[in-house]
Symmetry: C2
Subunit: 304 residues, 2 copies
């Protein structure tokens, strides 16, 4: 059996895992059976079961390592999730050590958005560059920074919390304690929230709001203009900070690209001399929901 | 003669150069005689004269290289300053090639704030870390990012334009085309401008405004609170982005630290979960006006 690696991506709503070889070929893929709302023990059991299953199918001999992506502010050195809006039951729990104990193998822990950024760098839209920033637009907004081909971690592993860039200093309050965070003005949840504020409906999804806008509803269209501008403010700052060649966006909200991208790019041109005068690219990520899985699997080879 | 390097720092108002050995000892120091307002040719002549003087005093044999820090958005690969608010006569001029031609030696070009950050990392307040961000608070605000012991450049050398982070989305207009840039709300010039808006005087310096505040003038005090808050918004974003252990501030405005630091730190605590929950440090740089000189001299050893 050729060398392979196991990657697991614990998202806000799903658990995905796969065995991938060094060329990026997905050998086996498994999804979790347990809803994440079930709590800590069932989810841990599921993670261990899924990894064990992949390991026995592909064989222990060729296993290069196991990478796991999880959401939240992670203290990587300790292997502990400090703060996680989506998986509160994992906060301050030594998840890495517990997984290692149950699996009898080393586990490399990573933030989920960092994993996704690494996946895009390895096998997705960032294959041809060594430096990129990824924003994952979901319920919240995650960030991942790849610098020199590796994840930029910061000294505690908490770098790239880009959903918490301040884009509206007196804007909506955020669970992180700040107000006006990018993720409170440009995520799928922000879209739904703005639609509600405009009286478009109480239980719409971001896709519903998009459909309304496409049907000619001006209020719904305004939502995407506002969201695109907020995203543009954040991206302009990232361009001015990093001068990387590539900025990627991922998440279901990308389906509304035709509505939010024009105001986003206009805002970036206005707010970033660098963006306006260079060939800096803003593009859609290409691995979709599997970016985190690829990135997690790549961890044993690239090193964290 | 032991190995040494020549560093030159072309600031917004001064030209400083020095010969420094590998242990960081300043062997010789020279300041330019020409006001930078004199224009391109006199300034270039002065740069070449100063470097030549140091080279003949210390000898060609031990010379490891020549590093030059200049202000502006620099396309490092071409060795050209694309946009410089302070030295417009050097815009789109191939300064590196011209210096190399006149000196008959290789020159390593760098942004002035990047040089200052590198200097602080080598011999100043950042000696004990490999990762830091420096903000230089002067007429404008420059930024330098040291990641893994080296300057973070971006793909064109235009990274770390941190004075152009948007901290007030509908704030003061900036020469870069944006509005609400950090440097339009937290630089020495911003302090003077706010004092003028408050009717404190037409021709005050930042030091005058500080003196007024210390004498109990509430309007003058408000200027430093406002400036500190703007700085805090920017720094909180940098902490959330990099999770580096150290953020340094430099420039004459540091003399007002006792007035602007408390609101700055309060804003950072509020706007950054990472800052609030870790031992991340915000400190004053220690090399003062010589940071850029040290950093430029270090370039031949560290590589750009």
């Amino acid at each position: 059996m050729a060398e392979y690696s196991i990657g697991l991506d614990l998202g806000g709503t799903n658990l995905r895992a796969g065995a991938i070889d060094k060329s990026g070929k997905l050998l086996e893929k498994v999804s979790g059976a347990t809803p994440l709302a079930a709590g800590r023990e069932p989810v841990l059991d599921d993670m261990v079961a899924v990894i064990s299953q992949l390991r026995s199918r592909c064989g222990r001999d060729g296993l290069a390592g196991i990478g796991v992506g999880v959401p939240g502010f992670i203290r990587l050195k300790d292997g502990v999730i400090g703060n996680s809006n989506n998986l509160a039951f994992l906060e301050n729990f030594p998840i890495r050590d517990e997984l290692e104990r149950r699996l009898g193998a080393q586990v490399i822990l990573e933030n989920d958005a960092n994993s996704a950024a690494l996946g895009e760098k390895w096998m997705g839209a960032g294959r041809k560059v060594d430096d990129l920033v990824l924003l994952t637009l979901g319920t919240g907004i995650g960030g991942g920074i790849i610098s020199g081909g590796k994840v930029l971690h910061g000294y505690l592993g908490m770098a790239a919390e880009l959903g918490h860039l301040t884009v509206v200093p007196n804007g909506n309050p955020c669970g992180c304690g700040n107000q006006g965070c990018l993720e409170k003005h440009a995520s799928a949840l922000a879209i739904v929230n703005m639609a509600r504020l405009l009286g478009l409906g109480e239980n719409l999804t971001a896709a519903d709001v998009y459909a309304l806008a496409k049907q000619g509803n001006e209020k719904a269209h305004t939502v995407f203009i506002t969201m695109g501008q907020a995203l543009g403010i954040g991206l302009a700052m990232l361009v001015n900070t990093f001068n990387f060649p590539l900025y990627l966006l991922s998440g279901g909200v990308l389906a509304a690209w035709d509505l939010f991208a024009p105001p986003m790019l206009a805002e970036m041109r206005r707010r970033s001399y660098t963006f306006r005068t260079t060939d800096t690219r803003v593009e859609q990520a290409t691995l979709g929901n599997e970016a985190g899985l690829y990135g997690a699997a790549y961890l044993p080879w690239v090193g964290r």
